[in-house]
């Protein structure tokens, strides 16, 4: 009675995929094991469209969508959602604005109706916009005190110097102050539209019914003004190795971030880089970096690497939180681990371990409806093909030690690494 793992992975035979004439792609997969349903997806509207002096506009717009529509007030929207025990939220990113929601299956119609209203008819009521602005500004004040966030933000400024990716999506206090109600309405009017939009519906609902309801709510949406995909210029290396320190007085721990620009998700470099990253700073107790910085030297509670490959080339970095007196020691250990990683091939055993880890953990990442919905959206966002998760084990096994070394060496160029330090 046990279930074969490959049968539980989503594939072309159990994912329903429909592309509408207006450019909206719908994905659905049923799961009747629990009486709940999840939606997840994105629209093509992100901070790449923000003017410098109004940075944070896309993010502010996303947060404002549920603050009132032409049909319902803020109170009415949240009364409907929360009375059903449902949730819905939007999050502005660099290329896209994401959304996600969940409800009991009996309330899916309500969830989709509210999603469509928020996307199509937001009203941006002034009183709610000002309350939201206060919350965003408080969030930025808290960010300025957060050593981890400030290290990551400063790291992006270093490695993406001169590139749009150097800008934080949530902006700065002065740019968020500069955004008017009319800016929000105009951003929505000119950028939001169905072209490039993706929505996945996963849970206790028949796929046909899910697709019909999405079509009913969003099938006739159009926006002739909607621009094409925003192209970003290529990224490069910083002109010189650069270390930048942000002083945040009164704190107890310093955060570090060291690394460079990595590959984009669609790149053939992605899997070798991801497996290499797993060996460098994830596998077991945070990989080689964790072994050296945490287990052997006892310098940090967390010391790990991450590869944030997205639509464009994301950062490939090592992060750690250390005692302020141990910054140099930790930086030296991290740099020497990166140097070893780009100069010697990983061992046969290390690669085999990480390959087994990637293949084995896939079903676990698809345990919940939200895990499956996120996986379906990624298939679409990165053009992976509906059978990607079934092919994945073979793709992972095909990666060689030489590919890992060659890929690492092209991205983590030793004398071009950026380093950001934030702490007292």
């Amino acid at each position: 009675m046990s279930i074969k793992s490959n049968q539980s992975l989503p594939g072309a035979d159990d994912i329903t995929r429909v592309v509408l004439a207006n450019g909206l792609t719908i994905l659905a997969r049923p799961n009747f094991n629990s009486p709940s349903v999840v939606i997840s997806g994105s629209v093509s509207a992100g901070s790449l469209s923000d003017p410098d002096q109004k940075l944070g506009l896309a993010d502010f717009t996303a947060d404002a969508l549920l603050r009132g529509t032409t049909h319902r007030s803020f109170q009415e929207i949240y009364d409907a959602l929360e009375s059903a025990g449902a949730s819905l939220g939007f999050d502005g990113g660099t290329h896209t604005t994401g959304f996600s929601g969940k409800a009991l299956a009996e309330d899916l119609d309500l969830l989709l109706a509210l999603l469509a209203e928020a996307l199509r008819q937001p009203a941006f009521p002034t009183d709610q916009i000002e309350r939201l602005r206060a919350r965003l500004l408080t969030g930025l004040a808290i960010r300025a005190q957060d050593t981890g966030e400030m290290a990551a933000l400063t790291f992006d400024q270093i490695i993406y110097s001169g590139h749009p990716y150097s800008r934080p999506e949530d902006g700065y206090p002065e740019t968020v102050q500069a955004i008017t109600q009319e800016d929000l309405a105009a951003f929505h009017r000119s950028i939001y539209g169905p072209r490039g939009m993706v929505i996945a519906v996963v849970g206790a609902v028949e796929p046909g019914q899910a697709v019909d309801t999405v079509i009913q709510e969003l099938g006739d949406w159009s926006n002739p003004e909607q621009p094409g995909i925003v192209q970003v210029p290529p990224t490069g290396y910083p002109q010189e190795p650069l270390t930048r320190k942000v002083d945040i007085p009164g704190k107890y721990q310093t955060d570090l971030c060291v690394g460079a620009v990595g590959p984009q998700r669609r790149s053939p470099d992605y899997l070798p880089a991801a497996l290499g990253n797993n060996i460098l700073g994830v596998f077991g107790m945070m990989g080689r970096v964790g072994e050296v910085v945490r287990e052997k030297a006892g310098l940090a509670y967390y010391a790990f690497s991450s590869l944030a490959a997205g639509i464009g080339p994301g950062p490939w970095s090592v992060a750690a939180g250390v005692d302020p007196t141990n910054v140099e020691k930790a930086l030296d250990l991290i740099r020497s681990e990166v140097a070893r990683f780009v100069s010697e091939p990983v061992s046969v055993e290390e690669l085999a371990d990480s390959q087994a880890n990637f293949i084995g953990r896939l079903p676990l990442s698809l345990e919940s409806n939200s895990g499956v919905a996120g996986a379906l959206v990624n298939l679409e966002r990165f053009d992976l093909g509906l059978d990607y998760y079934r092919q994945y084990p073979d793709l992972v096994r095909a990666v060689t030690r030489e590919q890992v070394l060659e890929t690492a060496g092209r991205y983590l160029v030793e004398d071009r690494l950026g380093a950001a330090i934030a702490g007292p």
């Binding site: 074969k4 929360e82 408080t138 942000v246 007085p249 077991g284 006892g298 079903p363």
Partner: protein
């Protein structure tokens, strides 16, 4: 809900709970020990959490580096958590690999080394973990509030422990703690997922029944006396943002008032999400969001209760609006509490809280890991029946019960009021250094 559930005790006292769930080829196994910061006294605060860390440092059969990699190699996910009343270790694995988890948990219940060198390198790791928490204003405030709420009971200190004790504790303190509390008779093994109960139970007997039962450890608890009046405190620290925390002395999870208190908290601060592996929902229609955020006194508010063995705290935390202040926030919270004390809420509002709980319960049941978590967690402070009847008990709560909770518990004399006061308006400075 009751189908496919087995609850049995092995001859050495190990309580075993098994629940077959055949949704996905996954099994989640949790080993719970009845030990947490509640069992600590001054001088060894943080010892339960540190012991948890040492459980990742290896046994003769599974040395640390082997242990670290073995689970990950099979695609498993594992972690450990230490809290007030408990310490737990879990592995969620592909179903055909679960034997590794069962085997290593049996091994490290008895055979962990606690090598002196490993104890020393872990000391600085844990101090670093504490420093990371100290960077957060809400940790600094919460630690002071908790300490003020419990003068006598060992819920007084944070699970991570006090720095003085983290600097002073020695290997033998940790090892003795391990030997005292890590015994079958003080443990619960909970497994949920894609297995056959008969086969799973036979394997568990094979791995665990031979372990010596150990002496049932005494849990020496000093009950907290009735609080004689409101306690107020201030914490000062960096930043621009003011926070307010109100902590009311709340009943234990098995107290008949606990369910009505959950509903009361839901009305005030939004639905409580007791799941560990599923996110909650928004609270914008809750009474305190309406009174604080919609009135521009705060930019956010949250709250919640914790299911504990002994009475713990009901907390309400508000992030103060930049143009408001802590006093105005406290006044507005008090006015909302008075409204509940003066008149029971509409039945529809109570019914709504119950529907919200039902939805959160459904979201939580999507995850096998979360279901296995509940099997053991509920046994720590009550039994699994507590979880199975949770929604029924909530449905029995009446508007009068909610009013009773507000009148009985939500009194200033029963609370600690803590305020985080930011000391500066400095923005951070950036400097560039040569590499």
């Amino acid at each position: 809900m009751q189908t496919n559930l087995t609850r049995t005790t092995l001859s050495n006292g190990l309580l075993v709970l098994l629940k077959e769930i055949h949704n996905a080829p996954i099994i989640s196994a949790w080993m719970w020990y009845r030990v947490g910061s509640r069992d600590e006294r001054a001088g060894i605060t943080g010892i339960s959490h540190w012991t948890e860390h040492m459980q990742f440092k290896g046994t003769p059969r599974f040395p640390a580096e082997v242990l670290d990699k073995a689970v990950a190699r099979e695609g498993g996910y594992r972690n450990a958590l230490t809290f007030l009343d408990w310490t737990t270790y879990f592995e969620t694995m592909p179903a055909d690999k679960i034997d590794l988890a069962l085997d290593l948990e049996a091994d490290r219940m008895h055979n962990s080394l606690f090598a002196p060198g490993e104890v020393e390198s872990e000391r600085t790791v844990i101090i670093s973990e504490r420093q990371g928490s100290e960077n957060e204003p809400l940790f600094l405030l919460g630690e002071e509030v908790q300490a003020a709420a419990f003068r006598v009971h060992s819920y007084h200190h944070e699970v991570i422990g006090d720095l003085a004790d983290l600097q002073a504790m020695q290997r033998d303190d940790l090892y003795n703690h391990y030997r005292t509390y890590y015994t079958p008779s003080n443990a619960i093994l909970a497994v949920a997922g894609d297995f056959k109960t008969e086969v799973m139970l036979a394997r568990i007997r094979q791995l665990y029944e031979g372990l010596p039962p150990g002496d049932l450890p005494a849990h020496k608890v000093r009950p907290e006396p009735v609080q004689p009046g409101e306690r107020r405190l201030a914490v000062e620290g960096p930043g621009e943002t003011t926070y307010v925390q109100l902590a009311y002395r709340a009943p234990a999870a098995t107290h008949p008032d606990f369910y009505a208190y959950l509903v009361t908290d839901s009305l005030l601060t939004g639905p409580s999400n007791l799941n560990l592996f599923s996110s909650g929902i928004s609270n914008k229609t809750s009474r305190l969001y309406q009174a604080l955020v919609e009135k521009e006194l705060a930019v956010g508010v949250f709250g919640g209760l914790t299911a504990t063995i002994d009475p713990f705290l009901h907390s309400i935390v508000a992030t103060v609006h930049p143009s408001s202040n802590a006093e105005l926030v406290v006044e507005a919270i008090d006015a909302e509490i008075k409204r509940l004390q003066d008149a029971p809420p509409p039945a529809s509002e109570v019914a709504r809280a119950v529907k919200q709980a039902r939805a959160l319960f459904a979201y939580g049941s999507e995850s096998i890991t979360n279901q296995a978590f509940w099997l053991g967690y509920a046994e720590i402070f009550a039994d699994y029946d507590w979880f199975l009847t949770y929604l029924d008990h909530l449905a029995e709560v009446t508007p009068q019960d909610v009013q009773h909770i507000a009148q009985t518990y939500l009194r200033p004399q029963n609370r600690v009021l803590g305020i985080y006061l930011p000391t500066d308006q400095n923005t951070s400075q950036t400097t560039e250094e040569p590499a």
